[in-house]
Assembly symmetry: C2
Homo-oligomer: 331 residues x 2
């Protein structure tokens, strides 16, 4: 349907250049006559045009494309972040290509490589491991912005959230309600930088003995890790805790599943605190505090850091504030 520039040129008896100049908005600069401009525009109005961005990219050595590597789209935070980032990129004239590494170091490297071969103009990466972040930093010469995980071994800008401050707020909120009772903290993925910060925030607020007596740790942060930690805690207490904190939603899910299994239900008087927010937390009758990420701010900061890097300005790493959400107990 849509005509290519050379077809338009032939149809109107002008040169391809003339067509391109007019359609490229350079008509005035090269003083193409109004009459010719009108004829071309009219033709386009009727038939449409089809430019080939591939050829343009080859010539300009720039694709107006960014790559984004995240662990998983099934994770609501990354999904929302991707959506926001994609939207802003498009507004700025860039197409975003989203790929999932599945938290695998090798996959992450392959993805980055593939995107570089496609000549993306820049790369956003949520790096799975310290090693892969370092590798990418050394290997890739394109503008890069790291997101969420700061392993502290790159010169590229890193956008993180205020995990430490957020954890302090979250812990303080549930601890106040708990009074003298212990607040147990299930920590999944305890070697990830984000989680380390969350644990640090918790310990900053809690008494000395909390680190040893009230925390449980697991290498990963899946539902089954939450289950396993809750089982350990149950066995230790011989009953359900009164106040429970989880380092992420999957961990909370696992913990609650175990409680339901042992008790037949989730006790309504149990106080809960968790990182990451989800509308469905409102389904629980319990009093709950949660930490909500502000994805729009993340996307904004990420794109800005990328723009700065590309224009050789000093790019700024940034920490995005979180928000504490409180859901009161059912009456």
């Amino acid at each position: 349907m849509a005509k290519k520039p050379d077809e338009i040129a032939k149809a109107l008896g002008v040169s391809i250049t003339t067509v391109r100049l007019v359609l490229g908005g350079k008509a005035e600069k090269y003083r193409i006559s109004k009459a010719t401009q009108a004829r071309i525009r009219e033709y386009v109005e009727e038939h449409g045009v089809k430019f080939d961005l591939t050829a343009r990219s080859l010539k300009l050595k720039r694709t107006n494309t960014f790559g984004l590597i995240i662990p998983r789209l099934a994770n609501p935070f990354f999904a929302k972040l991707s959506e926001e980032l994609e939207h802003r990129c498009r507004e700025t004239g860039y197409q975003l290509i989203i790929s999932c590494s599945n938290s695998d170091e090798e996959t992450e490297k392959e993805l980055a490589n593939g995107l570089v071969q496609r000549n993306v103009d820049g790369l956003f990466v949520v790096s799975s491991t310290s090693g892969s972040q370092q590798h990418l930093g050394n290997t890739i010469t394109k503008p890069m912005v790291f997101l969420d995980r700061d392993y502290g071994n790159t010169d590229a800008p890193v956008i993180t959230s205020s995990n430490f401050e957020g954890a302090k707020d979250l812990t303080a909120a549930i601890a106040k309600a708990a009074g003298n009772e212990p607040v147990y903290f299930l920590i999944g993925g305890s070697n990830q930088p984000t989680i380390i910060e969350r644990a640090r925030g918790y310990l900053d607020v809690m008494p000395e003995n909390a680190g040893e007596d009230w925390t449980l740790r697991s290498a990963r942060n899946r539902t089954q890790d939450g289950e396993q930690m809750m089982q350990t805690l149950w066995d230790k207490l011989g009953t359900a805790p009164q106040n429970l904190m989880a380092s992420s939603l999957p961990v909370l899910e696992g913990a609650l599943a175990v409680l339901r299994e042992r008790l037949g239900h989730i006790p309504a008087q149990l106080r809960l605190a968790t990182f990451d927010d989800d509308k469905m937390l409102s389904f629980l009758p319990n009093e709950i505090w949660s930490i909500k990420q502000q994805e729009p701010e993340w996307a904004e900061a990420a794109l800005q850091a990328m723009t700065q890097t590309m224009s050789s300005e000093q790019p700024h790493s940034k920490t995005i504030a979180t928000r504490l959400i409180h859901r009161p107990k059912d009456q």
Copy 2:
């Protein structure tokens, strides 16, 4: 770091063509000597290569890229579907570009246009409206596969899920538990093809009067639509229903929010049924039935339909089965 073919050629004193032939796996065909092959491979082993896929695409008129247009990534179903599809595309040697239309017809057209200009080899689209599906079908000459919404006005293959059958199963399950009590159905987005099918399934199982007496409808399926429908229902009944069905999760969220607001809690004896599944439904103490989509099967079928279209085979539309999940009531 990585060398480009011409740099390798110069370094080894051979022609660019020779380098390309070897690295492109065409060495045997053009009888490049083993010795030369070895030298080139060795050099690459040490320094790495960097091909430019942009130039390749320009020459071959094929980008090994597919586009995917969905309403929102924040919707967990589309996020999971995207993840699965992206994964399979990559296995097949394609890069997937995901864009969100925000359910806006104009945006959807623009996105499709942009992707075509980038010379994607094919397009997967979850079309927001009948009009845009028709428009795309008439405008775009690339291989296309439509997902989820079948407006019945395209020759391109459409992958849908068994909304009618799923709705029958879901309705039958809750109706059986409800006995003679009414099962109210909150229908959000009542003019979308998927929702129409769900409503049809409900009516197929329920008695004559259900369509008039037990259903509530809203043009969209957001949380606020669920709230509004629940309010209407409450005002009609003067109390909370005993059995409630929702056409999607946001609608359920809205409905439950209203109940909590009026009652101070969500009554545990309320039976619930909803389309779309989420792990967090387990947070509710209620007896719940839900309909789970099988995203891997979706992705599989979508990619297969695309492959068939591209090889000019007769592409097959396909309906993906859903699964009924039952969560018993807390004890």
